[in-house]
């Protein structure tokens, strides 16, 4: 029962971060600040959700797999954020007046 409450709290925390990241994606004016909001908040949110799922996991291997998923997602989102930021740099896609 304790584990269920703990994972509910952790996953709820994770969802709050996802919500914040999504709000940032929708509300921020240009590509770079959107990326900033999205990647930072989502990485942390996924971390909380993974922690919440790990609390309920039956064995150590499941916990390690969940951790691995989080680490891979961290690496991928970090890289993609860098690549998008670089490709958006000279043109500032989706900036003010960009219609996005």
């Amino acid at each position: 029962m304790m584990a269920a409450y703990a994972s509910a709290v952790l996953i709820a925390l994770g969802l709050i971060f996802f919500l914040a990241g999504t709000l940032g994606l929708l509300r921020f004016p240009d590509a770079h600040s959107r990326l900033h909001a999205l990647t930072k908040a989502d990485n942390l949110g996924l971390g909380f959700i993974v922690a919440g799922a790990a609390v309920q996991a039956g064995d150590v291997w499941t916990v390690l797999k969940l951790l691995l998923i989080w680490i891979l997602a961290l690496i991928a989102s970090t890289t993609v954020a860098q690549l998008i930021a670089r490709s958006a740099a000279p043109r500032n896609i989706g900036g003010e007046g960009g219609g996005g």
């Binding site: 891979l72 890289t79 860098q82």
Partner: protein, 306 residues
Amino acid sequence: MNIGAVFDLLLCLLILVVAVGAVGGRLLFTNVSLFVVFGLLLALGWVRLDAVDVALAEAAIGAGLTGVLLLGAVARLENTGSGPVRLSPIPALLCLTIAVGIGGAFLRVNDAGPRLEPMVRANLGEAGVDNPVTAVLLNFRSYDTLLEAVVLLIALVGVWSLTRDACWRQTPGIRQHARPDGILANFGRLLAPFGLIVGIYLVWAGSEAPGGAFQGGTVLAAAWLLAVMAGLAMPPTTADTRLRWVLVAGPLLFLLAGIYGMTQGAFLGWPPGMAATLILAIEFGLALSIAATLALLVLGAPRRVS
């Protein structure tokens, strides 16, 4: 109503909304992005239906690979300067007819008495694999899988046949511009080995758990594409003999096994004692060919001249 049913209902609603957005949007890029979201949500739906095999295939091929292919098509269309999308009535009507037809057929099938699942369960002992989905795909209905693999090959021939004469016998796709010590190159060094392990594992696990040649092959294709885009690997030219053998290896092995089955009784019928070995060999051969074919489909026809 329990919490699971609420979740399923919300998921169905979300899938429908995203599907309408993917078809009805004005900007091609938005449509394709929504199509990828649609694929991922659909994969979640398959997980809810306990069809993890289908979920893996949907996420890898439906959302991932098809999404990348469509994004490539959008990029090329934007270069040719096409305007915003308009819904053309005749294709729309055709799609609607097909959708209604499939929906009607589905509703009828549901009442049509016992389905094939009990037969699959009853004969699983002779299938050579413990995963009923793999048993269907590579034993009971291996005909379909063979034809799917051949269809992929024909698709690649179609893409390659669009090559301009001056570009033929060159490396597929456009020149990649990743810096050798840049972030993409390092990402490729880090992630490509993971992709290799996960891809091979998925093929291997397919005989007793969700996985198989198509899912594993897609992951292998992604790992290879990442290495190519990161500038770590150079794809072979379209004239490379070894590449062509890799492309046909899976279907050829499948066909040869099928002919061997014919000498033992039926085309594509595996003798029970041999089934496990044959299926594993075909799975790995198929995974190799599917990986190469899918990656080359994404890279597209050769477009560099010298």
